[in-house]
């Protein structure tokens, strides 16, 4: 098993309900997983738990045979080899595009670092933007820089938190396609969180629907959601909320 989560538990302080309740789940190498749920369902917390940004109350998690946490250990986020793209990208505003990407690279020669930066910039089609600062980029470009930055250290697992929520609808569709292409090309194992079933449908190999911190369903997109609405001409795009009738 490439990634294995067992009985994950988490509660926010002051909350009586478990935000994440007895969550167990496995992922194969190279898979792209989508965690689908509406806001407040615990999906972002789940992502932060995997990243190591929150401390679980119980359970175990291992990645590629390495223990991330269990009863005795808790590996700091910087030691996990997991990459993450944040919802608002969190590009460091005081660093150029290139500096943002170089920041995460492990110890290697300056030349190798530059080379790696070029590779990922090429992957996200942003060659020539090295010296720009984040505020000089459009939303779509910022998102691709964030992706390049997360991919640069070659993480074993990539986490994406609502990667499209800050983009225009037109852009969303295009970037969705780009993202899948990039992930598959880089052979990255990825988990992304979304509330939009179209995103999930277009990107994921498998979808995990969660509700109240528990898994509701797991399955392939076509099994879970049927044919993607965008693939049928004339169909209206609807969100998950609409689908489940909120």
């Amino acid at each position: 098993m490439f990634m294995d989560i067992k009985n994950l538990q988490f509660t926010y302080p002051k909350s009586t309900l478990n935000t994440v309740d007895n969550f167990s789940f496995t992922v194969e190498k190279g898979e792209v997983i989508s965690i689908l749920g509406r806001s407040g369902s615990g999906k972002s917390t789940l992502l932060r738990l995997i990243a190591g940004l929150e401390m679980p109350a119980g359970g175990a998690f291992s990645l590629n045979g390495k223990k991330m946490f269990c009863d005795k250990t808790f590996l700091q986020p910087e030691k996990r080899g997991i990459g993450m793209v944040f919802q608002d990208y969190a590009l460091f505003p005081h660093m150029s595009v290139e500096e943002n990407i170089l920041f995460g690279l492990p110890k290697m020669s300056r030349k190798d670092k530059k080379k790696r930066a070029q590779e990922v910039l090429e992957l996200v089609e942003l060659i020539g933007f090295e010296k720009r600062y984040p505020h000089q980029l459009s939303g779509g470009q910022q998102q691709r820089v964030a992706l390049a930055r997360a991919l640069a250290p070659e993480p074993e697992l990539l986490l994406l938190d609502e990667p499209f929520s800050n983009l225009d609808t037109d852009l969303q569709v295009k970037i969705r396609g780009d993202l899948r292409r990039i992930l598959k090309k880089a052979k990255t194992t990825a988990i992304f969180v979304t509330h939009n079933q179209n995103d999930a449908h277009a990107l994921a190999d498998r979808i995990v629907k969660i509700k109240d911190g528990k898994i509701e369903k797991i399955g392939r997109p076509c099994d879970l959601l049927g044919v993607s609405p965008t693939e049928i001409p004339g169909m209206v795009e609807i969100t998950y909320e609409e689908l489940i009738g909120v």
């Binding site: 190591g52 700091q76 608002d88 969190a90 005081h94 920041f103």
Partner: protein
């Protein structure tokens, strides 16, 4: 301990150590409340306390009111409008902060008293002898006037930074809803900037509460007067400390009120995509009015006192020894610089701790350090001396080991003075750093750690550069405050260590305000340079 704490050990230990160090000397004051009442206590209660508290509260209330009115209106003008002289006024309006209030009081009294320039000119050139009662500022309204002039920049500074960075979309949407400028000011600007207004005003309130120079000179009896009368007059330090402890009580009360006023409405900006507010260019009469208003405030709070000081420097030129001036200036800059540096470093450690450790205790603990800022400096000084002498006794074997012949080492070194500054002014620096941490949130920190950077690297590579503005402004505020600090510097300095402030005080306390003008002007000069540099650095910061 919560499992949360497991991953932030270094910060927690550092922060808790710092907080304990800051708080320790104050403990001796706090315990003073519980000391048995002395025979003087009834006298103090009967004849001093009630009236003194009344005048203290009057001073505090009206000073807060006027500093908010002036500070906020200026902040709003500068943040939203463009008018002639705006770019100069933007930083020049902070400058009154560089004038110690007691020097301001002496100077204003010097200007308008019987032999001052106004009455003198009227008498000698126009043959008018006005009723001297019109020129009396040595009373409660006069003190409020002085405090307001020289303390409003706290409110102005904090509120302006907030308004120009945070309010764009709210104000613009109010505008599109067809609201006029006045209505926007009262219904949008005031409510949204409430936190920064209260933040600035509480600094003002604390300054007023612990000030002694102005009220002593004006003959106004306040809570600090009671403390000093009890100590110096009745010779009863224990009772004085008891009073100081009650003052602490009042301050804690104010802090609680501030918390309540803030309520749950502590704004947090999770994204950095805050747009600066675009300036509206004022034209015609409105532009004239805006320029005039800022000019009047600037003149009254800075230009006029400075001109008077310059006049006195010229008048006493050659009569005041000049040779050591460079030495005093250097000393002032060194202690203020070191103190400010340490406070900022400590604030960063404590601030990061408070942000990372998601625990109520980590949020409240740092607030306690404000106590050092709330009581008269000289009472803090006694606490610091006591602590350091105990420390020296404790370290005596070490001194002997190194062959030092003296029993007092730390307590006769600059170390004691600098530590006292840190204890006293930590709250000022921390305020600034804390708001800086609030502003950047935790996303960048998380992102950095996901990229493999550990806590320390994240701190230096991400947090510190992103908080440049908060760090610089905190540093400057503390620097300027230490530069004009009197009571701690007087008693805690090593032998022969004079600073500009002690020099100015030496003359002023002997009613030689003209002779004090030289050192006072240098304090203002050094602070002005610091504030100007701060302004330049902030402007260059990419936003």
């Amino acid at each position: 301990m919560n499992k949360h704490l497991a991953n932030v050990n270094g910060w927690t230990i550092g922060a808790v150590l710092i907080i304990i160090l800051l708080f320790l000397p104050n403990v001796s004051i706090v315990t003073g409340v519980f000391s048995p009442a002395s025979e003087n206590w009834t006298h103090i209660k009967e004849f001093m306390l009630l009236n003194y508290i009344k005048s203290s509260l009057t001073l505090v209330f009206f000073t807060a009111l006027f500093t908010i009115a002036i500070g906020l209106s200026l902040a709003w003008l500068i943040a939203q409008y463009d008018f002639p002289l705006r770019n100069f006024m933007k930083w020049a309006l902070i400058l009154p902060l560089s004038i110690p209030p007691f020097i301001g009081a002496y100077t204003y009294h010097g200007i308008i008293n019987y032999t001052g320039v106004i009455q003198k000119t009227l008498r000698n050139h126009f043959d008018v002898t006005p009723n001297p009662a019109y020129f009396d500022i040595m009373n409660v309204p006069g003190a409020i006037f002085i405090y307001t002039l020289f303390l409003y920049p706290y409110v102005y500074m904090i509120t302006r930074i907030f308004l120009s960075h945070q309010s764009a979309s709210l104000i613009e949407s109010a505008r599109t809803l067809g609201k006029g400028p006045l209505e926007i000011f009262f219904r949008v600007v005031i409510p949204i900037s409430r936190v920064s207004i209260i933040g600035g005003a509480s600094l003002v309130v604390l300054e007023v509460l612990n000030d002694y120079g102005v009220v002593k000179y004006f003959g106004i009896q306040t809570f600090s007067t009671a403390i000093f009368q009890t100590w110096f007059g009745l010779g009863d330090l224990d009772a004085a400390i008891k009073l100081a402890a009650s003052l602490m009580g009042i301050v804690i009360f104010i802090l609680v009120i501030e918390r309540l006023l803030r309520g749950g409405k502590q704004f947090s900006y999770s994204t950095t995509k805050v747009r600066p507010l675009p300036l509206v260019r004022l034209k015609g009469r409105k532009a004239v009015f805006a320029t005039l208003y800022t000019l009047v405030i600037f003149s009254v709070a800075f230009l006029i006192p400075i001109l008077q000081l310059i006049d006195w420097v010229i008048l006493t030129f050659g009569k005041v020894p000049m040779h050591d001036v460079l030495f005093y200036t250097k000393n002032s800059v060194i202690v203020a610089g070191l103190g400010a540096f340490l406070i900022i470093v400590f604030s960063l450690v404590v601030g990061n701790f408070s942000r990372v450790v998601n625990h109520k205790f980590a949020k409240i603990l740092p607030k306690l350090t404000v106590l050092g800022y709330s009581i008269p400096g000289v009472v803090v000084a006694v606490a610091v001396i006591t602590t350091f002498i105990a420390l020296d006794r404790f370290l005596a074997p070490v001194y002997q080991y190194f062959g030092m012949d003296s029993e007092l080492v730390l307590s006769v070194s600059l170390f004691m003075l600098i530590s006292a500054y840190v204890i006293r002014f930590f709250a000022i620096g921390y305020n600034s750093i804390e708001s800086g941490f609030d502003k950047i949130g935790t996303d960048f920190r998380d992102a950095s750690r996901m990229l493999g950077a550990n806590s320390l690297r994240t701190f230096f590579k991400i947090d510190v550069p992103m908080m440049k503005g908060a760090i610089i402004s905190g540093f400057i505020l503390v620097f300027v405050d230490i530069l004009k600090e009197i009571p701690l510097t007087l008693i805690l300095r090593p032998f022969n260590y004079d600073t500009l402030a002690t020099k100015a005080f030496q003359y002023a306390s002997d009613e030689k305000i003209m002779e004090a003008s030289q050192a006072s002007l240098l304090i203002v000069g050094v602070s002005t340079i610091a504030i100007f540099v701060f302004h330049k650095l902030l402007r260059e910061e990419p936003k």
